[in-house]
Amino acid sequence: MSKAIDVVRAVEMVPDGASILMGGFLAVGTPRRIIEEIVRQGKKHLTLITNDTNRPGIGNGMLIDAKCVDRLIASHIGTNPETQRQMIAGELQVELCPQGSLCERIRAGGIGLGGVLTPTGVGTVAAEGKNVTTINGKDYLIEMPIKADFALLACRRADYRGNLDYSLTARNFNPIMAFAGATVIAEPNEIVPIGVIPPDDVITPHVLVDYIIERRSANGR
């Protein structure tokens, strides 16, 4: 059975208020067609968990522009003045998390661990409201795991069974998020027949992936 569906149908599955893990680092490795379709369908009240919000009008910055997002968990918003404006105006709730802790929280959520103990952030504002534990004389922050209703990923190739590979720095959070979304949708640059991606080159195993976005939707967009 093929997992390929068109982008319109894929985004129709995402209800208002859903939580979304979205791959990408400054829009490299971000599912652009899914983002455009979320904006077109006018989704609202989303919780977005992603590394950064890029720039206005580009990549997931479009979701901020279109006010699709009520709550954001990210490590960096410095490149997007609109994210900061909405945060200061109280329109957007933002939780900033160190990048290494953010990806490990997502990993923990996806692999059945109860959280992460990390030295990063101890004694800084990143520790506010978090518990600290001491192991062998060293302090660690207890960071909570993250899961979401959807993981929306970008990849280089997918085969029709859903095996994924990635390009260079477009890999970033994508293979980690593939474990942590209840429904996982990947937007590949190319869909190839099963067997074309050699087993040793598969980075995200197909069992994690529910849907892959067809190259073109039925109405030609």
């Binding site: 680092f25 400054l26 490299v28 490795g29 590394n51 950064d52 990210a74 490590s75 960096h76 918003i77 410095g78 490149t79 900061q84 945060m87 900033l96 160190p98 990048q99 290494g100 802790s101 990806c103 490990e104 990993r107 990390t118 030295p119 990063t120 952030g121 101890v122 004694g123 800084t124 504002v125 990143a126 280089r156 990635y166 390009s167 260079l168 720095t169 477009a170 890999r171 970033n172 959070f173 994508n174 293979p175 980690i176 980075i203």
Partner: protein, 220 residues
């Protein structure tokens, strides 16, 4: 010599053959231009590559290859791609030999503030807290003062990046080593006196008997 070039050239002298190195955004990225001759270091960008280089030529940018500042970069033969957890495992796990970070303030305890100005600039810490906490060596490269105000202070008034004591600070005036006892002046910039450095520094500096002058190879 321009201040930032002097700083970059001096920081580059701290790198050793075979080091895995992560350069922060801004001034630290200049360090890659002035590597000592005959050494090979591996540049990591935390968004997922080891073996980063400059873009090999105009028009040869790759849509999927950027550094952590969003700038197109190249990759050398032998480069490798990493997911974010692997990249930060290298950083936090003690596998990163050196990180060079910019700074807003550095204090007598050797603690760095470099990511936030409350009420003015709240960009998020990105990977900075992990780098400042986890790298084997943290080198801060920054101007000694901002608008006439010393950035080397008694106690950071801006939110710190990590409680960890950084290993070395290089400015256009001085090389300073934070130690258990406080900030030790190690070197003066060419043509700069110890008195000038003391006058430009809010923090207390420990002045050892011998203070060297920054040595920059002439052919860099």
């Amino acid at each position: 010599m321009e201040d930032k070039v002097l700083i970059a050239k001096r920081v580059a002298q701290e790198l050793h053959d075979g080091d895995l190195v992560n350069l922060g955004i801004g001034l630290p990225t200049l360090v890659a231009n002035y590597l000592p001759h005959g050494i090979e270091v591996y540049f990591q960008s935390e968004n997922g590559v080891i073996g980063m280089s400059k873009v090999p030529g105009k028009g040869l940018e790759d849509d999927y290859l950027i550094d952590a500042g969003g700038i197109f970069v190249g990759a050398l033969p032998g480069a490798c791609s990493l997911d974010s957890c692997t990249s930060f495992s290298l950083i936090r796990g003690g596998h990163l030999d050196v990180t060079v970070l910019g700074g807003l303030q550095l204090d007598e305890q050797g603690q760095l503030a470099n990511w936030m100005i409350p009420g003015k600039m709240v960009p998020g810490m990105g990977g900075g807290m992990d780098l400042a906490t986890g790298a084997k060596r943290v080198i801060v490269s920054m101007n000694h003062s901002a608008k006439g105000v010393s950035k080397i202070v008694k106690k950071c008034t801006l939110p710190i990046t990590s409680t960890r004591r950084v290993d070395l600070v290089v400015t256009e005036l001085a090389v300073i080593e934070p130690t258990e006892k406080g900030l030790v002046l190690k070197e003066t910039a060419p043509g700069v006196t110890i008195d000038q450095i003391l006058a430009a520094t809010e923090a207390k500096l420990i002045i050892p008997e011998h203070v060297g002058e920054m040595s920059i190879p002439a052919d860099l």
